[in-house]
Symmetry: C2
Subunit: 314 residues, 2 copies
C-alpha cells in the first residue's frame, strides 16, 4: 500500500475533480502492474495498473488507495467492474470513496463477485495523499496550503520589502515542486503589485505543470490571472482541489481568519532579519489560549541550510 | 572523553572565572574516578577524580577536557603535579588551556615526567562545553546566549503584550535548566517594567542556582538587580562567563547590532499569532545577503509539542 500511496502522489494537482489514486497489482509477491490517475483524471489508476498486468492479473491482489469506482462514465468503465473482469482474487483498499456514486458500492460489487476485500489499510496515509479530493468532497472547497519562507525570527522580507533571497536554492526548488502539485496559486494585491510574480514552476521537465494564477481582489483579473473576491469564494474555483496561498501577510491573515488553511509549509532560513515584514497580519487572536492545539507537525527536513516544516490542521 | 565532557556540563555556570572541566580516570577499561570543577572553581575536576581513584590511579589513563593546570595557587596544587604524583601513565586532553599560566606548560610537565600525552581529542566538543571560559579568555567577555520563545510566525507576544503561555511546560522547564547554567541573566527596561520578571530557576533542587539579574539601563539598578549601561560593557561583569539575554525585542536587537550574540536558543510553539510583537527589533540589516552564513544549527529537539533549536555563531 505504501507503494500505491507513493504512486498516488504523481497525480497530485493534475487530476481534479478526480482523486489522485494509486494502485499496485501484486502476484506471488511481485508487483505486476502499477498505476496512478493520469492528468485530467483518466485513465484511472486501476485501469492503468490492470493494463500493465494483463492476463497475469487473474488471481492477483490489487492494492488501491481509494475504493474502486462503481459508476461507469462516458470516459471509461467502472474500476470495480474492471477488477472483476480481470479475475483479481483480492482487493486491499486504503479508504472508502466519499463520492456518493461509489461510497461503499465499489467494495460491495467486488465482494458480490467473490473477491476478498479488506479496507482501512493505511487510511491516514491515504487521507493525506488525497487531501485535496477529500476536502472538495467533504467541504466543497480545495485543500488550502499556506506557504511561508521566513527568517528564524519570522520575517518574510526586510522593511524595504526585499526578500531575495531569504531561503536557499534547495528550499526554492522544493517550493517549485510544491507548486507543481497544486492546480492553482493565489497571492494578494500587495504581492502582485510589488513583485509581479510569475508563480510558475521553474524545474526542468516540470515547466508545463505551472498552476493557474489567482489574484485576491474585488477588481478585475489582470491578463493571465483569475480574480477571487475573498477566501470564502474558493469553493467556486472549478477544477482546483489544491490551492497554494503564497503571500503576502495580509492575504495569509485573511485565510487564517476565515479558518481556511489546512496545511502550513514553512521554509526557514538560518538568518535573523530584525525589524522587517512579519509573515502574517492580524488574525484577530485575542487570547493565546485559543491559539493552541490547531497545528500538528507532519514533516520536517533540512533543505540545504534551510529547514522545511509541514504542519497540518488539527 | 564523551563521559568527561558530560561531567564538565555539571559545572557550567558555577565555576567562573575557572573553566568547567570534566575528568575521568580509566584503568583496565573501567572508570575508577570521575570529577568536575566544583562550584566556585575548586576542587578542580582532576583533583576530585584522583581523590576517587586513590591508589588505583597508578598506571591509569586520565581523560580531561582541558589541559591540566601548571600553576599552583593558594587554593590548591597544580593539577599536572597531582597527576604526576599519582603515577598516572597516560593523559588524554581535549583542549590546550588558553590561560597563559598553563598554555602548553601543563602538557609539557606531564611529558617531562614520562606520562604519554595526547591532545586534541574531541576538541570541538570541549570548545562547546567550555565556551564561556573560552570567550572570557579570548574575548574578555562572557559567552552570550540569546533566548527567544516564539510562535511559528516569530512573535514573542500578542499585540497587547500577553505572552503567557506561548511555549508549554516542557520548554519552560528546559529554559529554567538553561538559566541554571548561566551566571547571569539580562533583560531590558521594557521587559523589566512590563513583567517584573523573577528570572529565577523554578526547578526542584535547583532553586539555589538562580543566576544574578542584570538590567540593561543607564539608570540605577533596582533592588536585587545589577545595572549594565550597554552591551559593550558585558566584559566588566566579573564572575560572569555565561550571560543569557532574555528580552525583549529592543534588547535582543541591541546585542545583535553589537555582534555580541554567540548562541541562539529558540523555543518555538506550534501556534500562529499574526500581528503581535516581533522577537527582534531593528538590527540595522540593509541587505539580506549580509544576513547569511552567520548561524549554524547545533542542536534541535522536541520539548512536548514545542521545538527547541540551538544555533551557534559561525
Amino acid at each position: 500500500m505504501d507503494a500505491a500511496l507513493a504512486l498516488s502522489a504523481r497525480g497530485k494537482g493534475l487530476t481534479a475533480p478526480n482523486p489522485n489514486v494509486g494502485c499496485v497489482i501484486v502476484k506471488h509477491g511481485r508487483a505486476i502492474g502499477r498505476g496512478w490517475t493520469q492528468p485530467g483524471g483518466r485513465p484511472h489508476a486501476e485501469a492503468m495498473a490492470m493494463a500493465q498486468a494483463g492476463e497475469a492479473a487473474r488471481g492477483a491482489t490489487a492494492y488501491v488507495t481509494l475504493e474502486p469506482c462503481a459508476h461507469e462514465s462516458p470516459r471509461g468503465p467502472a474500476c470495480a467492474a474492471l477488477l472483476i473482469a480481470a479475475g483479481v482474487a483480492e482487493a486491499v483498499i486504503a479508504l472508502t470513496d466519499p463520492d456518493p456514486r461509489t461510497n461503499g458500492r465499489g467494495a460491495a460489487m467486488l465482494r458480490d463477485a467473490g473477491i476478498a476485500v479488506t479496507t482501512g489499510i493505511r487510511e491516514a496515509g491515504a487521507r493525506t495523499a488525497m487531501a485535496g479530493f477529500l476536502a472538495r468532497q467533504a467541504l466543497g472547497r480545495p485543500q488550502v496550503t499556506l506557504k511561508l519562507a521566513t527568517t528564524l525570527d519570522g520575517q518574510i522580507a526586510l522593511a524595504d520589502g526585499s526578500s531575495r533571497w531569504i531561503t536557499g536554492p534547495e528550499a526554492r526548488a522544493h517550493a517549485h515542486l510544491e507548486r507543481a502539485r497544486h492546480e492553482a496559486i493565489l497571492v494578494g494585491r500587495g504581492t502582485f503589485e510589488a513583485d509581479s510574480p510569475r508563480l510558475d514552476v521553474r524545474l526542468a521537465g516540470l515547466e508545463a505543470r505551472s498552476p493557474r494564477r489567482i489574484l485576491l481582489t474585488r477588481g478585475p483579473a489582470p491578463q493571465g490571472w483569475e480574480a477571487l473576491a475573498g477566501p470564502a469564494a474558493i469553493g467556486a474555483l472549478e477544477g482546483v482541489d489544491h490551492l497554494m496561498v503564497e503571500g503576502g501577510a495580509a492575504t495569509a491573515a485573511a485565510f487564517l481568519r476565515a479558518d481556511l488553511v489546512d496545511r502550513l509549509l514553512l521554509y526557514r532560513a538560518p538568518i535573523l532579519a530584525g525589524a522587517g515584514l512579519a509573515a502574517i497580519g492580524d488574525i484577530g487572536l485575542g487570547d493565546l489560549a485559543h491559539a493552541h492545539g490547531k497545528w500538528t507537525l507532519a514533516d520536517t527536513r533540512m533543505l540545504g541550510s534551510d529547514r522545511l516544516e509541514v504542519y497540518l490542521r488539527g
